[in-house]
């Protein structure tokens, strides 16, 4: 079965500093990959997604993610964080074949705290 690992439970970063959130997946084939953000008390908002093509994906709010097949990773980055980026971030994978079903598998999430 597929699995998604986000190794960092919490990350604290200063406002204006760069941010990188790690995501590793375990799957027999290259899955489809997503990053979502969840602000306190809110639902999940899609930041970006990767299906195929260019391995560097641009998303909303200045975020980008890079797919690295050799490392089974899909890390999320932002060059300069804003206080409003404080939230929980979830990586998710979707199976590439119908036989595997249509459901997303989510990582455990990384909570980002932004220091002034």
């Amino acid at each position: 079965a597929q699995s998604v690992t986000q190794p960092d439970i919490h990350i604290t970063v200063s406002e204006g500093a760069s941010l990188e959130l790690r995501c590793n997946y375990s799957y027999g084939a290259t899955p489809y990959l997503f990053w979502y953000v969840q602000s306190p008390g809110q639902g999940l908002q899609l930041l970006l997604k990767y299906f195929s093509g260019d391995t560097l994906v641009q998303g909303i709010k200045g975020f980008e993610a890079e797919f690295k097949r050799s490392q089974s990773s899909f890390n999320l980055r932002k060059p300069s964080v804003h206080w409003s980026d404080a939230a929980e971030y979830f990586c998710a994978v979707g199976p590439p074949s119908k036989a595997a079903g249509n459901k997303l598998t989510f990582g455990g999430g990384t909570r980002v705290l932004v220091k002034p």
Partner: protein, 115 residues
């Protein structure tokens, strides 16, 4: 972006009560999902539907039930709430697309507290 609504946003209720969490979307999406999320934890799929009159159980066992009589509406019901049901419930719908390429759009969630 999909418009997907959940009501109530917050619910405090006593043990044994029957509750229904509402979820509606206005984008005509065929696929809808219910996730359960404990505080600070990952999401677990508890129910999904691929269209009217189609419902399936998800990966996490749940005592809740769902129905899908209309495309836009996917309510979740607990016949007898218990403290172990305390959690956040997130509804999502997706825009179809090829398998795995669909994008799920989430509602704001319902935070349930059972006393």
């Amino acid at each position: 972006e999909a418009d997907i609504y959940q009501t109530p946003r917050y619910l405090v209720i006593g043990t044994g009560k029957k509750i229904t969490l509402e979820c509606s979307q206005t984008m005509g999406h065929d696929k809808m999902y219910w996730y359960q999320q404990d505080p600070g934890m990952e999401l677990h799929l508890i129910h999904y539907s691929y269209g009217v009159n189609s419902t399936e159980k998800g990966d996490l066992s749940s005592e809740s039930t769902v129905s899908r009589i209309r495309t836009e509406h996917f309510p979740l019901t607990l016949e007898s709430a218990r403290p172990s049901h305390t959690s956040q419930y997130l509804c999502a719908s997706s825009d179809g697309g090829s398998v795995g390429q669909e994008t799920q759009y989430f509602g704001p969630g319902t935070r349930l507290l059972v006393l």
